[in-house]
Symmetry: C2
Subunit: 329 residues, 2 copies
């Protein structure tokens, strides 16, 4: 591992100056070689891992400069941690536990080599904290910085999918919704600190909650809220062939989000909270284990027999919201 002084001294050197293999020579020593079920870590054509016989979950996600973040919004370490978090959130949404990851980093040659080192080190550290290992990766040149991470996780005995919700099931979310979208709004205005900005920078994958919901068979359907609450609810409802009724006043939001506009919570995206359906007969059991989730759990509505998705205010009046994240629009 380089000493802080060496790291500082090298921070100005661009990728184009030290080259791909100079960078690899710097990266490989700082990546862990071991870890649970890791037979061969980074540095060869492939990693070799030993599954324990359970089903595995597989997911891939990317953070792209100019799309998911602008230069200066995230430090390299924050970018690495967030890349891990958004992938781990997909595993959480099925009740899984992260085990092994491989990363593809594309970067312009002018980028400081130390940035790629910091990104990789942060992914590896975030993985380790979650009981997982970064076992390999690939580097390539590109016009813009991007980090694509593929994660393999251990599935619970019964993975929770988006399908499976029934009319009458209650709808819950973990944590708070809308902070990250408010954070993006503030960052665009040049405000670079505060709780909302922090939530954009450092989402928390709800791994403990997801695992408990799956293992205790509390959730009939689940999804992570990455593209906006209503849009992701739409995916859950479509997969489950149900409608939904959401009570606006129950959606858990920071006061700052309500002041800025409740649409941030409904259509904003990047929350990485879990949205899940719970059969009525399981709500008592949910209440008993929710204290182990490490976050709030809030009932925000229920699944209905068709009828699309309706959002109602405190007086029962239907409200309409447009939006949600679409990558190509």
């Amino acid at each position: 591992m380089p000493t802080p002084r060496r790291a500082a001294r090298s921070s100005g050197r661009a990728l184009g100056a030290i080259g791909e293999f100079g960078l690899l020579a710097r990266l490989l020593p700082i990546l862990p070689t071991g870890g649970r079920g890791v037979l061969l870590g980074p540095g060869d054509d492939c990693a070799v891992v030993a599954p324990r016989g359970r089903a595995l979950l597989v997911t891939i996600d990317a953070l792209v400069e100019g799309v998911h973040f602008r230069r200066g919004w995230l430090s390299p370490a924050e970018l690495g941690r967030k890349a891990f978090a958004v992938n781990a959130s997909d595993l959480a949404a099925m009740g899984g536990a992260p085990r092994w990851g491989v990363v593809q980093i594309a970067a312009p040659p002018r980028l400081p080599a130390a940035d790629v080192v910091a990104i990789s080190r942060a992914i590896a550290a975030a993985a380790r904290r979650a009981g997982a290992s970064l076992v390999g990766g690939n580097l390539s040149r590109a016009r813009e910085l991007s980090v694509a991470l593929a994660l393999i996780g251990e599935a619970p005995p019964r993975p929770v999918t988006r399908a499976g919700a029934r009319p009458g099931d209650a709808l819950y979310v973990t944590g708070r919704i809308g902070d990250a979208a408010l954070g993006v709004r503030l960052l665009r205005r040049g405000i670079r600190s505060g709780p909302a900005v922090s939530r954009f920078r450092a989402p928390t994958p709800r791994l403990a909650a997801g695992a408990l919901l799956a293992r205790r068979r509390l959730a009939s359907a689940m999804i992570d809220v990455s593209d906006g609450l209503l849009q992701d609810l739409g995916h859950l409802c479509a997969a489950s062939a149900v409608g939904a009724r959401i009570e606006l006043a129950r959606v858990p939001c920071a006061p700052a989000v309500r002041r800025a506009g409740i649409d941030l919570a409904l259509t904003g995206g990047e929350d990485y909270e879990l949205l899940f359906a719970v059969p009525r007969r399981r709500e008592t059991a949910l209440a008993r284990v929710a204290s182990q989730f490490g976050c709030a759990v809030t009932r925000i509505g229920e699944c209905t027999r068709g009828g699309g998705i309706r959002v109602v205010d405190e007086r029962g009046r239907e409200q309409s919201f447009a939006g949600g994240h679409d990558h190509f629009r």
Copy 2:
């Protein structure tokens, strides 16, 4: 699956016009839902797969527009097939068999939606032909088109790494070297067909050869030739702590490559052939099974006790070559 007429009609519509979810609605029906060991295919937060208890290989690689290809060099279907091939080649280099893949496609909104459909369909088809399944993916916007694929494969009982070659082991390569680099040179000159261009467009991962070399314990070390023969040989030698002596006249090249310059074969890259070391006592056994490789196998030199990598011509004179692919230089 859309009829050819519908596909043609939609080919002009850009991603920005149909949107991410319009694209997903078009993609999901054409992706296979089943496959060996696939419990849940594309369309949820994660895929669910069932390993058979063997160790797994994991790798990730990317093809980036402007780096690995220029617009017009590869059709969308060729890009998809090649993305699968370059990843499968990493599995082949350890003796593995591809099983499950997840893809991250980043694309500019102006790209025709039909191109992303064609890329995805081609990856899925290439996977299926190799006994594997494309089980999931993610789409995001970007300034340039890129395809990052993570592949999980089944490991052989003893995966072959880059380490393990001993002084005196013979060095072999599969197939022919240098065609792809010649192909790139021709494409840069506007020549868009011919055998060398085809080899750039459609490399063949040497899965059968890699699997036999591992299972019959013929290779003491192995790597795939992606960054240039000498550079990849350098990685194998460094990992194995050996030197190497390569006989220039034995390097298997097309006559067109020799005419264009043998450096294409030594430093050109993108061959996706296998380079492997064979203990002397195993060379007879190698000769017996080589007919099952589906490609030529050529002895090009041997591992030495230190001394770096030396390339000698027919008269034993040492030749010097500089180069090999470096992403950031």
